[in-house]
Symmetry: C2
Subunit: 445 residues, 2 copies
């Protein structure tokens, strides 16, 4: 999927800078890297996501005639720039960590090498795409870690920040290990399983709660999960039990109930008993309502008889950490390493690679950040994915990326698998890279 | 602007419920209202926004043949539903508070009355549109209140949650009183002024910082704001001073400098002195870098000589409160008032109106929440905007909505104009409404 967006979806400074580059023919190869400066206090690791959308964006990069016309007429740019943009397409190389890879601060997950104007122009949208899905995948992974064996469904579209956020949150959370999403469009777009049954308004529209349940079951005989908390949760469960025989006569099985308010552990226990005593021990209990990984962990820890969770707003907005301190920085231009030294925002220069070492049991032990041509022990995490503007292979299926994420989460050090802050994962900086940074600093004062 | 989105951008339960309604011909008029249940702890009021996009969505509501085909083939729905959806368009009435209106918990800002399946189906996207812009406008208003007379520019696109979030954040912050946005597309789409000059990478791409400044000035002679913190802020300011005469000879004036790191108040004072002593007292100082309204307030309070602020990530993600506890609830069906009673989530039934009373000096004093036909003293805030699926008037220009927001912010009670938590604004519930809620409860057990 290439999310529909205009090339004008960028910061104005990209275009004013391009005016400068184009005027002076500054088209030498530039290398930029996307990385996260530091972890939010409530994250022990991050999960890379969004590469697929980033590559689609690069492949399709063209200005339309309407956009060019607007740029011509807006009074900010010279015809030289508009002519340049008319011919522009992306001819660069991309190296990246595969989506679903665990990564840590200062480790680039995407590296772009292209003529300077191209590599610069794509900055805003690349960050916009990589940041958001990485943010959500990293948040979703926390629920996945604390609720093994539970059905986890993304319920967040309505309070996600706009349409694209809702769609990409469905993708990122599925990649991280969720079972699916309530967002219908995620099915045709990404092949994600979709879930959903009824809202309170359905129950309210009927004079009688049992009638609402019965009518819903007739209309959706293969998907009978009934929302029982509109008026009184346990009374709702009792109505489900009394309705069940009537439905069974028509060959309809009640698959489960949903709780959406109150003390979920307490309600779940009472409802489980009511269902079991009413002969509905196969019916599952699904819970939702302002959930996040902390509440899910509590509910699982308390052995609440809940089979699945709908996790919405707090995941789709990454509410405890709604952004990452990430950047896309120039590391090399015209064959020379570059480095930003702004206070608190200094970067490591050059084209980089990350090598990962594992313990004997396959768990991640430490990473080393170094230059591309400085071969180190361990697994190199950054791989070529696009050359001269063309993908090197077809997009991997989302299920394969989900498998990778599962494998990566299984290989996390024990101390990083908890919701509490764990020890810092060791990321060394190689001597080669330190030497280069020093040389760059000495050259430029 | 109608953000491009599919009608499949919805929760699955909307469609499973519609299957139920359609099977039983439940098409009587339903009234739903959108409101916020409670304020985030760091908000004293909210600013309504997003109505324009919501109305565009309703006007354009049609399933495409591709969407219908997918629904037919997905195995979840009967042909009766697909046939119904093929003919569907929105025929309902909409009442709303104008965008830019200050509002408080439990006060509906949008009310929809339409045949039940229509009013239900639109829930997810309506919330998605109204929630996000209201969230951002309410956040942006805080910066507007603490920085009177300063240039405030939205810089948040890159870390906004996807494309639509970036665009709608530009709109919502401009509506709330920002001067403009760095997002280029906000200009052709919404007529919003755009701002931007250069990134650190531009400076880094040159061997010499002064050369970068000079080349940028030649390329963008009418927009010379130079980013001076790539290596050393004060040294950067001195280079700007020494460059100025050379540019002046060519008729180019340096309009300002931008600081993006370090102690902004301290740098601004030193840079102001360097610029003034260098004959550049007309050049403005613009600051950016992880700003929000708290930091802007500090900088303004410390009399830091900063003329404008670029506020990005923390505004576009509403980082301190990344979502609102909002809902779209059924309040009436088939002429009968309805009410949800779920624990902690009970709603007020019926079609409602909000009357606002003012003090003698024009400041807001108190609101009363009542039923539509219960005329109370004060200004009714909710007005008809769409009848039988057609807008009652053309979309107001964004500048007019911005004027309204400005007027509303000026009329806030003093205690609510601060960043600190103020007193709760008084919102009474009328006796008429309380009586109706009681009657609804007694009728349904």
């Amino acid at each position: 999927m290439n999310p529909p967006s205009s090339l004008l979806l960028t910061d104005l400074y990209q275009l004013t800078m391009l005016q400068g580059y184009v005027d002076q023919g500054m088209e030498e190869q530039a290398t930029f890297e996307f990385f996260v400066r530091k972890l939010p206090t409530t994250r022990n690791f991050l999960l890379a996501a969004g590469l697929e959308q980033a590559l689609s964006f690069l492949e399709a990069l063209r200005f339309t005639s309407e956009e060019l016309e607007w740029l011509s007429g807006c009074g900010l740019f010279r015809p030289t720039l508009v002519d340049y943009l008319e011919k522009l397409h992306f001819t660069g190389d991309v190296y990246a960590m595969p989506e679903g890879t665990v990564f840590f601060p200062d480790e680039p997950i995407v590296r772009i090498t292209a003529p300077l104007p191209q590599a610069q122009l794509v900055e805003t949208r690349l960050i916009n795409l990589l940041h958001f899905q990485t943010l959500i995948a990293s948040k979703a992974a926390r629920s996945v870690l604390v609720a093994p064996g539970k059905l986890l469904v993304d319920f967040g579209l309505r309070r996600a920040h706009g349409a694209e956020a809702g769609l990409l949150a469905a993708r990122a959370s599925y990649l991280a290990g969720f079972s699916g999403s309530s967002t219908v469009q995620a099915a045709p777009l990404f092949g994600i399983p979709i879930y959903g049954t009824m809202a309170h308004s359905f129950v309210q529209a009927y004079e009688d709660e049992t009638a609402a349940f019965e009518r819903f079951a007739y209309a959706n005989a293969d998907n009978v999960v009934l929302l029982i908390d509109t008026y009184d949760t346990e009374a709702g469960a009792a109505k489900v039990v009394s309705l069940a025989p009537r439905l069974r006569e028509k060959g309809i099985a009640i698959q489960g109930v949903r709780l959406d308010s109150g003390d979920l552990a307490d309600h779940a226990r009472k409802v489980r008993r009511i269902l079991d005593e009413g002969g509905l021990s196969d019916a599952v209990i699904f819970a939702s309502g302002n959930l996040d990984e902390l509440i899910v962990q509590q509910l699982c820890g308390a052995q609440a008889p809940i089979d699945g969770f709908g996790i919405g707003t707090r995941m789709d907005t990454s509410a405890d950490a709604p952004y990452l301190d990430c950047a896309y920085k120039l590391e090399e231009y015209g064959g020379k390493a570059r480095r930003k030294r702004s206070e608190g925002k200094a970067t490591w220069p050059g084209r980089k690679q990350v090598y990962r070492r594992y313990d004997a049991d396959g768990r991640m032990r430490s990473d080393i950040l170094t230059l591309e041509d400085d071969r180190q022990e361990g697994e190199p995490l950054i791989q070529p994915v696009m050359r001269a503007g063309k993908r090197l292979c077809a997009p991997p299926p989302l299920t394969a990326l989900r498998e990778r994420a599962r494998d990566q989460l299984a290989r996390l050090p024990h101390g990083l698998r908890t919701l509490e802050k764990g020890p810092d994962y060791p990321v060394q900086v190689s001597a080669t890279l330190r030497d280069l940074a020093k040389a760059v600093d000495e050259h430029r004062t």
